[in-house]
């Protein structure tokens, strides 16, 4: 503390040289009470700024204000990040995924019914009468549980609540129709593949209700709640990124002000460095960089959780439900020859939505579909970039992020091609008039059609699990990142203290 101010310092509060005296009677009201208002008037006149301590204080005030602004934008941005993790990772996101069970459960209920009616009295066909019946009951319970999730998500959205209610009401009607079809079926005691007309008619009513009313609504519930999540995600992610940019702006402002203060002190007091202020500057740089970096990382976690996790899990769950439903269209095709053409077409439509190979100008029928699948999808190795086909799996294949995903996609596609090969064989048996052969092929325990489908379902299940893991990991990382934020206010407080500590000795020189 041997330094003296560079300029002959004016005594505190004195008028700096060269500054004009205030014009008398213009600034302060004449009748002002002397004490408090007089000081305010002096402050407002700004003459204190023309003194060195005054300027130091002004610098400090500005730096502290910038620091507070930095802290404020950080807090807001972190709040947004926390909201988005909560929504996608913990609340709505998992609930939306849970509602997708509704579509799957409903679709599989009808699939089990069609198989039960198809095998008639030959209870050992397929996965077995008892197991199919148990699966039906299980799916019924799953559907109820998923409907509860959907009702929770619907909250105060009346249209969505109505849709959920419609599904539950419809499910009651569906069960009654299935009950009467099952009763007729038992009474008929028919051999596999030969249900009497009244059984088929009763089943038509049930499956039409399912296809035309229940399944569309169940599907739309997941789409609509998913849309809400998407919107929340977009808004929050933009907010986090905008917040990050503001953190950079506020941090840069605080930094510039700190440097300006240093320069001012250096020039005024001929001291090169003020250690406390240097530390405060470094602290501000660190805080800004850490803040901006972590907000970027948070936005990155959310993006990966949303795209690689949430979106993929949802769309693959749809692909899985649609595949099960297509598989059931095979038994419906055999069960109801009167509608065989329709069921063949819906089978093709569903298959196309899962994998749609480019078949050029050839007519779009199953024959060309099988061929296209073998030619275009068979030799395909998943890698980033456009796949040579369309559909749910094409979107997944084009977005593979690592070897594990690529492997899982490829195994799923392989298994899918095997399932389609079975379909081709089953239909060619049916078309040649060998209905029994077709039924044995589709429902028999030795033929492999069911185990091939199970293998495909398992491969698809592990592909979904890969994305589920990615989701869980990103959300866990995001949660971890957010926990670090508790250190921010203390860090800012330390910086503020360093600033004050840095200028105090300089101010003390004027006392």
């Amino acid at each position: 503390m041997t330094m003296t101010p560079a300029q002959p310092a004016a005594p505190p509060g004195a008028r700096p040289p060269g500054a004009p005296a205030a014009a008398p009677g213009t600034d302060a009201p004449p009748a002002a009470p002397p004490a408090r208002r007089g000081r305010l008037a002096t402050f407002a006149r700004g003459r204190w700024l023309r003194t060195i301590p005054g300027r130091i204080r002004a610098h400090v005030a500005l730096v502290l204000a910038a620091l507070v602004a930095l802290l404020a934008v950080l807090t807001v941005a972190v709040g947004n990040a926390r909201d988005s993790v909560q929504t996608i990772g913990h609340d709505a996101g998992p609930q939306v995924v849970a509602t997708s069970t509704l579509y799957f459960a409903l679709s599989d209920m009808d699939a089990q019914v069609s198989s039960i009616l198809l095998i008639g009295r030959q209870h050992d066909l397929g996965s077995g009468y008892d197991r199919m019946l148990a699966a039906y009951e299980q799916r019924r319970a799953d559907a109820d549980a998923a409907a509860v999730q959907a009702a929770q998500l619907a909250g105060r959205d009346p249209a969505l609540r109505q849709t959920v209610q419609d599904v539950l009401d419809g499910l009651g009607r569906y069960e009654r129709l299935v009950g009467s079809a099952m009763q007729l079926d038992q009474k008929a005691d028919h051999p596999a593949g030969e249900p009497p007309k009244e059984v088929v008619d009763a089943y038509r009513q049930a499956t039409d209700l399912m296809k035309l009313e229940l399944l569309p609504k169940a599907y739309n519930i997941t789409l609509d709640t998913g849309a809400h999540v998407r919107q929340a995600y977009e808004t929050k992610r933009t907010a986090v990124l905008t917040g990050r940019d503001w953190v950079i702006v506020a941090g840069a402002a605080a930094l510039l002000l700190l440097v300006a203060t240093q320069l001012y002190l250096a020039r005024t007091f001929r001291r090169m460095l003020n250690p406390a202020l240097v530390l405060a500057t470094l602290g501000t740089v660190a805080l800004t960089a850490a803040g901006a970096g972590l907000l970027s990382a948070q936005a990155g976690h959310m993006k990966k959780a949303k795209e690689d996790g949430f979106d993929s899990v949802l769309s693959l769950s749809r692909a899985r439900a649609i595949s099960h439903s297509a598989f059931a269209d095979q038994s419906r095709y055999l069960l109801d020859p009167g509608r065989a053409d329709t069921y063949e077409q819906t089978y093709l439509d569903k298959s196309l939505s899962v994998v749609y190979p480019d078949i050029g100008d050839k007519p779009l029928n199953l024959e060309n579909y099988y061929a296209g699948l073998k030619q275009k999808v068979g030799p395909y190795r998943p890698h980033k970039g456009t796949a040579p086909f369309l559909g749910f799996f094409a979107d997944e294949a084009a977005a593979v992020r690592n070897a594990r995903e690529a492997d899982a996609v490829q195994r799923t596609l392989r298994a899918y091609i095997v399932v389609q090969g079975d379909d081709q064989e089953m239909r060619s048996l049916a078309a040649s008039g060998d209905r029994n052969g077709a039924i044995t092929m589709r429902m028999g325990r030795q033929s492999g059609a069911i185990s091939h489908f199970d293998a495909y379902d398992a491969a698809l299940g592990s592909l979904i699990a890969v994305h589920q893991d990615a989701f869980t990991k990103q959300i866990k990382d995001a949660d971890g990142g957010l926990r670090g934020w508790k250190a921010v206010p203390p860090a800012a407080a330390v910086i503020a203290l360093l600033i004050v500590a840095g200028v105090r000795p300089r101010l003390a020189e004027f006392r």
């Binding site: 990124l241 905008t242 940019d245 029928n365």
Partner: protein, 285 residues
């Protein structure tokens, strides 16, 4: 000189702040330096809409002599626009033929298309589809006295209408390999005349189109649907918000009974089995 210093000390900061704004904006991270987000263009907040419809499909989209459009598609589009907050008098209708639909959406000639526009995997690459607002099915129309055609397989050896540019007859003959005999005709209107004149046994295409052309003419739909045609609302690719809002509008249209009323209004007399429950949406991509 000294008096000026405090102010000049602040100036570099302001200048640098502005500069960092400019740098950040240039890097594309800060759209307008923090003022609002970069929104995808969406029709969700528009106050006026240009809607593409057909002008030559009876009961779906027809342009009258006075220049006004009428039909199921027109009514559906008006309802959806209303739900988006666009009044009827703020809608501009534009005839949009099948061949120009993707282009019209991409270049903004129309904001949305409601014109028997089937959702397909290929089209989805270029168009964002809301809906479907109705799932039509390919069905078959026969002369009123016909008692031999009950399903599409019965068309074997029969003369069916092959409209130039339409895919429907191919779906029977090429996709299903049913050996029907295609008889060329320029339009479905001409098919109806041929059917009435006995030059044809059947006309097979989307049931709503059949119902529209058959209105006021003899003929019956056999109610043996064999395909699903998902009529979607076409939007510019990427307008997810508009798509999601339209899906909610369509849900409301079915929930409040408007869809059932409109279907009955336009197709009630055709003898067609109509579905009055909301269709399964495609999902906004």
């Amino acid at each position: 000189m000294r008096a000026a210093r405090p102010r000049s000390a602040r100036r570099p900061f302001l200048r640098t702040a502005a500069l960092s704004c400019a740098v950040l904006s240039a890097a594309g991270t800060l759209p307008a330096c923090g003022i609002g987000a970069a929104d995808e263009p969406t029709i969700a907040h528009k106050h006026a809409l240009t809607i593409g419809v057909k002008e030559d499909q009876p009961s779906l989209g027809v342009k009258g002599k006075d220049g006004t459009y009428q039909g199921f598609d027109v009514d559906v589009a008006t309802y959806i626009a209303g739900k988006l907050g666009v009044r009827k008098d703020r809608i501009t209708w534009r005839t949009t033929n099948s061949s120009v639909r993707e282009k019209a959406l991409a270049d903004g000639t129309v904001d949305m298309i409601v014109a028997t526009y089937s959702i397909t995997a290929k089209r989805k690459r270029a168009v964002t589809f809301a809906g479907p607002y109705y799932v039509a099915h390919q069905d078959t129309l026969v002369a009123p006295g016909n008692t031999t055609i009950h399903a599409v397989r019965d068309l074997k050896g029969r003369k069916i209408c092959a409209v130039t540019g339409s895919n429907s007859w191919r779906r029977v003959i090429e996709e299903r390999k049913i050996a029907a005999v295609p008889v060329q005709a320029p339009t479905y209107g001409a098919c109806m005349d041929d059917l009435a004149a006995g030059k044809l046994d059947a006309v097979s295409t989307d049931d709503l189109i059949l119902a529209g052309f058959a209105a006021g003419r003899p003929g019956k739909i056999i109610n043996a649907p064999f395909t699903d045609e998902k009529y979607g609302v076409g939007l510019k690719k990427g307008d997810l918000e508009g798509c999601e809002q339209i899906n909610r509008a369509i849900t409301a249209m079915y929930q409040d009974g408007t869809a059932a009323r409109l279907l009955t209004k336009w197709f009630g007399k055709s003898g067609l089995k109509l579905t009055t429950s909301v269709p399964q949406f495609e999902g906004c991509t």
